[in-house]
Symmetry: C2
Subunit: 129 residues, 2 copies
């Protein structure tokens, strides 16, 4: 897969893809004979994972640490697993927070529904003035 296709597939810009590679978040992508990046399925899978994690609020810095640990090999396995568990716990907390916010939003919207009607009445009165 060429960069424009990957960009399209994941909804991120080619610039961002190159940027991720530059900083080492994505491994160096293989090139075809004319020097263009050729993304493999594996590359795409890793990009997908990264995007999920980023969307879940994990910082690039932390993801880089994770990548670094992968390079350091098996001895960091436990730490990596702990990192993921920590992320999961934060994510669970985050989802709970968002659900509270959703309830708040729903309440506010309901309020508008209640007060839009009185508002329209006011408008009518104004008309009759």
């Amino acid at each position: 897969m060429i960069i424009s296709e990957v960009s399209e597939k994941f909804g991120i810009s080619p610039d961002t893809l190159r940027y991720y590679e530059r900083i080492g978040l994505i491994p160096p992508i293989n090139r075809n004979k004319s020097g263009l990046r050729e993304y493999t399925e594996q590359d795409c899978h890793w990009i997908q994972v990264i995007l999920f994690m980023r969307d879940a609020g994990m910082s690039i810095e932390l993801l880089l640490e994770y990548v670094k640990m992968v390079h350091q090999g098996d001895e960091t396995m436990q730490t990596r697993k702990e990192l993921l568990i920590e992320q999961r716990n934060q994510l669970v907390a985050r989802i709970e927070e968002l659900q509270k916010t959703l309830a708040l939003l729903n309440g506010k919207i309901e309020n508008y529904e209640k007060s839009v009607v009185p508002n329209e009445k006011k408008l009518k009165k104004q008309k009759n003035k």
Copy 2:
């Protein structure tokens, strides 16, 4: 309530509170005789709402637009309501996304020894090419 108390209560810095006021996200807070900000219950309530919205991913710019509309009065009510509904829809989608990510994380953690490690070894190999 004085600024340090509000800061403590919501876990944001006094600087951020002043910043929010500066840009008009929070109304001008009343001062006591020596010029210090004195936050009312109402102020706190509004700060709470803002923080929830911020946490849910709503930008300051959009919140400012909302505030501006509140100032413009009742004629903007319908638009405000629509804005909130739009935000709710986005939030619902966001929560669903995060739940997917949570599932992915859980999978990664569960299978850590079985599949994630060998998979990442492959990635490493590729990188070393």
